[in-house]
């Protein structure tokens, strides 16, 4: 027994080469006739060279009804399914440029709204949603301890291994402690924590806010006179600004412990490793890293919420907002980190 798909190409090719006036199909052996069968019959009718005609004999009454239903509802794909219009290069470039500047405009406007809302929170602390902020702190901060700790431990461990091999050649193995201490406190602790939070919490902020947008909760806020930026974004920014430096301190210690594991395995005592780090890493190194992490936290939360508030429509829109949030956060963190490096160099921190 053949299905429609199996005979389609053969049947259409044969009918196009018909030179006689008419073709008669014997439908005796047709046991089932569905929309695919109807599509084939209609295609054959349209494919036969003029003035040829097609006739069907022994057509089951039920099958004929099915054919008539689809014949009545026939819509020519060539007419309805138009190929998507492709922009030429200047049009495409123009559209992308306009879209980029719109994005910049929205980001600047959002920064202004956020600054105003933060200022309002400072002036009216009673209005601030402390409970919501604490809840976000718990979800974004405390619940992230394990993943931040794991990543930092592995980073410290891998870095120590990579550094120990060449340094052993110069008998300077113990200086791996200096490297780990400085790298973790000044750079990798804040950076790795920020990247983990961008993927874990920034995306969650975007998804939450985006879902609120498509569920019309944001519109509902406007209609009852609530500023969504003050109501949703500020508690998240505050929680992230508080959680990120605390997680960074945790990441610093765990990363240093990870590096320590490598040196302990190479028979360097704990006391030597610790003393080496305490001699090399200053309070300023720690503070520099923590200042960075506060800024990273603010950027992650603000970017996540901004992308969430930009959500267009439907669950697909939330997915797009979440992806954009992670990508934008990582790019912004990298740029901010580079700016901090330049600033710290100038300030000799």
């Amino acid at each position: 027994m053949h299905g429609t798909a199996a005979i389609w190409e053969h049947a259409v090719t044969r009918i196009r080469s018909v030179k006689k006036d008419g073709v008669v199909f014997d439908m005796t052996d047709v046991h089932a006739f569905d929309s695919a069968g109807a599509a084939l019959v209609l295609t054959l009718e349209k494919s036969i060279p003029e003035p040829g005609t097609i006739d069907f004999v022994h057509f089951d009454e039920k099958h004929e009804q099915t054919l008539n239903l689809f014949r009545k509802n026939y819509a020519d794909p060539e007419h309805f399914l138009l190929a998507p219009e492709k922009d030429d290069i200047p049009t495409y470039t123009g559209k992308k440029t306009v879209s980029f500047f719109k994005e910049v405009f929205h980001a600047v406007a959002f920064t202004g709204e956020l600054s105003r809302a933060v200022f309002k929170s400072i002036l009216h602390p009673r209005l601030f949603r402390w409970r919501e902020s604490l809840h976000v702190f718990d979800k974004a901060g405390i619940n992230a301890l394990f993943i931040v700790g794991l990543i930092s431990f592995i980073v410290g461990l891998v870095m120590a291994f990579q550094a120990a091999i060449p340094m052993r050649m110069f008998g300077a193995e113990i200086y791996v402690a200096d490297l780990i201490g400085l790298a973790m406190t000044r750079e990798l602790g804040p950076l790795m924590t920020a990247i983990v939070l961008a993927g874990r919490s920034g995306s969650a902020f975007a998804a939450e806010t985006g879902t609120m947008k498509i569920n019309e909760e944001i519109d509902a806020m406007y209609t009852i006179g609530i500023d969504p930026v003050f109501f949703i974004v500020v508690p998240r920014v505050f929680a992230a600004a508080l959680a990120t430096p605390l997680l960074t301190v945790f990441a610093d210690f765990i990363g240093i412990a990870g590096g320590g594991m490598v040196l302990f395995s190479m028979d360097h005592p704990v006391s030597v490793y610790t003393a080496q780090i305490l001699n090399r890493v200053t309070g300023m190194d720690m503070i520099g890293g923590l200042i960075k992490s506060v800024v990273f936290g603010i950027l992650i939360a603000a970017t996540g919420c901004f992308r969430g508030l930009q959500t267009e429509s439907g669950p697909g829109g939330v997915g797009v907002a979440t992806t954009k949030s992670v990508v934008s956060s990582i790019v912004i963190i990298a740029v901010a980190d580079a700016l901090f490096s330049i600033l710290y160099y100038i300030l000799e921190i």
């Binding site: 809840h135 569920n215 909760e217 519109d219 209609t223 009852i224």
Partner: protein, 253 residues
């Protein structure tokens, strides 16, 4: 019903970039009436409601609510609007992170200086009015669609508005729940003298709650009929309106 127009819509054109949904729409809503905006899917009913509530900027035209002109996007224009309007959205739009009573209390917290006990009392009264006082501490995800809509009405009337906008209040509900919501609208209208602007395409709701209606049409991009629902049902001259009210298919084509 009063003869004083509480809402005046003048030559309103609305839509989204590249799409005009309706053009030059004008109508008035009188104080205390239950006014229905109806029409088929995609004709711009919800967009018209969003423009009337200041959420979407019109492409052209004016809306006056009481004596103030509504303009979307400007904060100053929204403050007076909030003092006398409430909005219920299609899916309730309750804040998922708050219990029902917290949802209802939120407008009170934001716009009044009442103490906590007074706010609790008012919020509970509003919840009881919609039959949800027993669910005051429930989170929105634990209640049914009909209950969400009733809770949204309770939140919308938290500040005792003069005008209540309802977007599809009975859509997607079973007939009994749908009738309960319609009954609630009638009760609120009669007891609290609230002016209702209801967007719907549910025939039973239109007949039960509507006193006056306008019908929008996507092909005509505007109002194709206006009047009492009973009159519109008998309007044989307009095939689209007659088909809509009598659930016919051929006349609409």
């Amino acid at each position: 019903m009063d003869t004083e127009a509480i809402i005046s819509v003048e030559n309103l054109t609305g839509g989204y970039p590249g799409i005009i949904l309706f053009e030059n729409v004008s109508f008035s809503v009188y104080k205390g009436e239950r006014f229905v905006i109806l029409g088929g899917s995609g004709c711009g009913k919800s967009t018209l409601l969003k423009i009337m509530t200041g959420l979407v900027k019109p492409m052209a035209g004016k809306i006056r609510i009481k004596d103030g002109e509504i303009e979307a996007g400007t904060r100053a224009s929204k403050v007076p609007l909030l003092q006398y309007t409430g909005v219920m959205f299609q899916n309730g739009a309750l804040f998922g992170s708050m219990s029902l009573i917290e949802n209802v209390k939120l407008p009170l917290k934001e716009h009044t200086c009442l103490d906590r006990n007074a706010m609790d009392m008012i919020a509970l009264m509003k919840l009881k009015l919609v039959g949800l006082e027993k669910f005051a501490d429930y989170m929105p995800d634990r209640i049914s669609g009909g209950m969400k809509k009733r809770a949204a009405i309770a939140r919308a009337i938290a500040l005792d508005p003069e005008i209540l906008f309802l977007d599809e209040p009975s859509a997607g509900l079973d007939p009994v729940t749908s009738a309960q919501i319609d009954r609630l609208v009638l009760d609120l209208s009669q007891t609290l003298d609230i002016t209702f602007i209801v967007v719907t395409h549910e025939l039973s709701s239109i007949h039960m709650i509507g006193q006056r209606a306008i019908m929008l049409d996507s092909a005509e991009k505007g109002i194709i009929a206006r009047g009492a629902p009973e009159e519109l049902k008998r309007l044989r001259e307009n095939k689209k309106v007659f088909a809509f009210f009598n659930r016919l298919t051929d006349e609409a084509e």
